[in-house]
């Protein structure tokens, strides 16, 4: 089956006669976009987080063949070494990583998370289920799908708070 994935704005046609290819493996092994990382391959760590049609998802827990026609954004698509996205700059400023393995997933997750907050989605920490404010507790809860084995959590929270403040709540 031929499937068209539009990744970071560029359409790619993939032949997936054998459908046993996760979106994560398609990105890394067929399109050579190795910024998206494989941690657990079971939806438990968030290293593989990408944005599909505006939503953050775990690319390891979905088949590439299920995404014909979808728009996918990976870490390669949000900034370049010469022109980093505000969240990427903030992670550097606040030392939001040690080994860096979880970082692409953290940044893609945070990018979509700030948009969710902007749209008013509640979280477990939003007591009355009303409009959320980006408190540290909200950031921690909303980023709980991204595990950092180096335990850079305090600096990750600082980076996200800072980037959100500089961009008026969005990462764009």
């Amino acid at each position: 089956m031929d499937v068209t994935l539009t990744v970071n704005g560029t359409p790619h046609v993939l032949n997936l006669e054998d459908p046993r290819v996760s979106l994560l493996d398609a990105l890394r092994q067929r399109l050579d976009l190795t910024g998206t990382k494989k941690g657990c391959d079971h939806g438990q760590c968030g290293a593989c987080t990408v944005i599909v049609n505006g939503r953050r998802i775990n690319s390891c827990m979905t088949l590439a063949v299920m995404h014909d026609g979808d728009e996918i954004t990976t870490i390669e698509g949000i900034g370049t070494p010469g022109d980093l996205a505000p969240l990427q700059q903030a992670f550097i400023r606040h030392d939001g990583f040690q080994c860096g393995y979880c970082t692409p997933g953290q940044i893609m997750s945070a990018t979509a998370m700030l948009e969710e907050v902007r749209q008013g989605w509640p979280s477990q920490m939003t007591g009355d289920l009303g409009r959320p404010e980006l408190t540290d507790d909200e950031i921690r809860e909303r980023m709980s799908g991204n595990i950092c084995r180096c335990s850079c959590y305090p600096n990750i929270v600082d980076a996200i708070r800072d980037a959100a403040g500089r961009t008026g709540g969005t990462a764009a």
Partner: protein, 322 residues
């Protein structure tokens, strides 16, 4: 993963009455397929059949099977009138997973335990007749209610616990037509068929979930677990309580993490209805919920944990809606 054929359904009819395995968000099925715990030969992808809307249904709500957990939790009507459902959804999994997880797939996620995932361990649910690794093994997360000598696994979902308390109805269609299954009767106890998690029959598909009119009152979902976020429940309590003149009026309670299905005990609710709240009464209600409860060793703590969590939830519910 074992090889499989893949097809995309255009309409629900394409997925009903076939022997292909439905895939929705894929977050539970692919997890199990990667480990070859599940080995379907054919997959039918229902992500493009529609059924992705939340609609008014009289005083209630009809939720399509493909409505994502994140959309359902954020839906204005759900937040306003069925906050218990939003809270249970937001207590489950991670934001990334909730963006994919569907209403139908969430209900259908396997009732399971860590031995179920381990192909080298005996497990009557995975291989009927092979035994149960959890009985006499490490069973900290397992059932204290409704277990059998064949399986002591717990249903791990949160959404279904709220749906049980809210008296929701699951609308399904099979080759012989449509039928409705109350949320409280959707999941089953293991008995001597632990391979069967629920009442959905082969060839049937979940089309939607219907919520009856709002219950009002204070609605709480308290999930007790090893960490504050992104972990399955050890014990969870879903409660909706209305008050009248200092007395509890309507009381709905359901419990997660304690049995092979969301646990509901109408006798305990009736014991509380019409009464003034007191610690002693809460304790008697907990005793009614825990009738027949039995620990397996490592999970003995769940019995007092359920009692204390229920007392804390009820104390909060009556205080804030009084």
């Amino acid at each position: 993963m074992r090889a499989f054929d893949y097809a995309r359904a255009q309409t629900p009819a394409d997925a009903i009455g076939t022997d292909a395995r439905i895939i929705a968000g894929g977050t539970n099925l692919l997890d199990l397929m990667k480990l070859q715990v599940e080995t379907p030969e054919r997959l039918i992808d229902i992500n493009h059949v529609g059924l992705d809307q939340v609609e008014r249904d009289g005083d209630g709500l009809r939720i399509g099977a493909l409505v994502r957990n994140s959309d359902l939790a954020a839906h204005p009507a759900v937040r306003q009138d069925w906050p218990l459902l939003s809270r249970a959804l937001l207590a489950g999994a991670s934001p990334q997973l909730r963006n994919r997880a569907s209403t139908g797939g969430n209900l259908m996620q396997r009732t399971r335990c860590y031995y179920f995932y381990d192909l080298d361990a005996p497990c009557n649910k995975r291989v009927p007749g092979s035994g149960c690794g959890a009985i006499g093994g490490v069973n900290r997360i397992h059932a204290i209610l409704g277990a059998s000598e064949h399986c002591i696994a717990t249903y791990p979902g949160d959404m279904a616990v709220a749906l049980s308390a809210l008296d929701a109805v699951v609308e399904v269609e099979g080759p012989d037509g449509r039928r409705e299954i109350p949320a409280t009767a959707f999941h089953r106890l293991p008995g001597d068929r632990p391979d069967l998690d629920n009442e959905l029959q082969p060839g049937e598909m979940i089309l939607s979930v219907r919520l009856p009119a709002p219950l009002g009152g204070r609605q709480i979902y308290r999930k007790v677990r090893d960490r504050r976020s992104y972990a399955f429940a050890l014990v969870s309590v879903a409660a909706a309580v209305t008050m009248q003149g200092g007395r509890m009026d309507r009381v709905r309670l359901a419990f997660g993490g304690v049995a092979h299905k969301p646990w509901r005990v109408p006798a305990a609710e009736q014991m509380l209805a019409g009464q003034a709240p007191s610690a002693e009464l809460f304790d008697r209600a907990a005793a009614a919920v825990l009738e027949g409860a039995r620990g397996q060793g490592h999970n003995d703590f769940k019995i007092p944990l359920l009692r204390r969590t229920l007392a804390a939830v009820l104390a909060e519910a009556v205080q804030e809606s009084a």
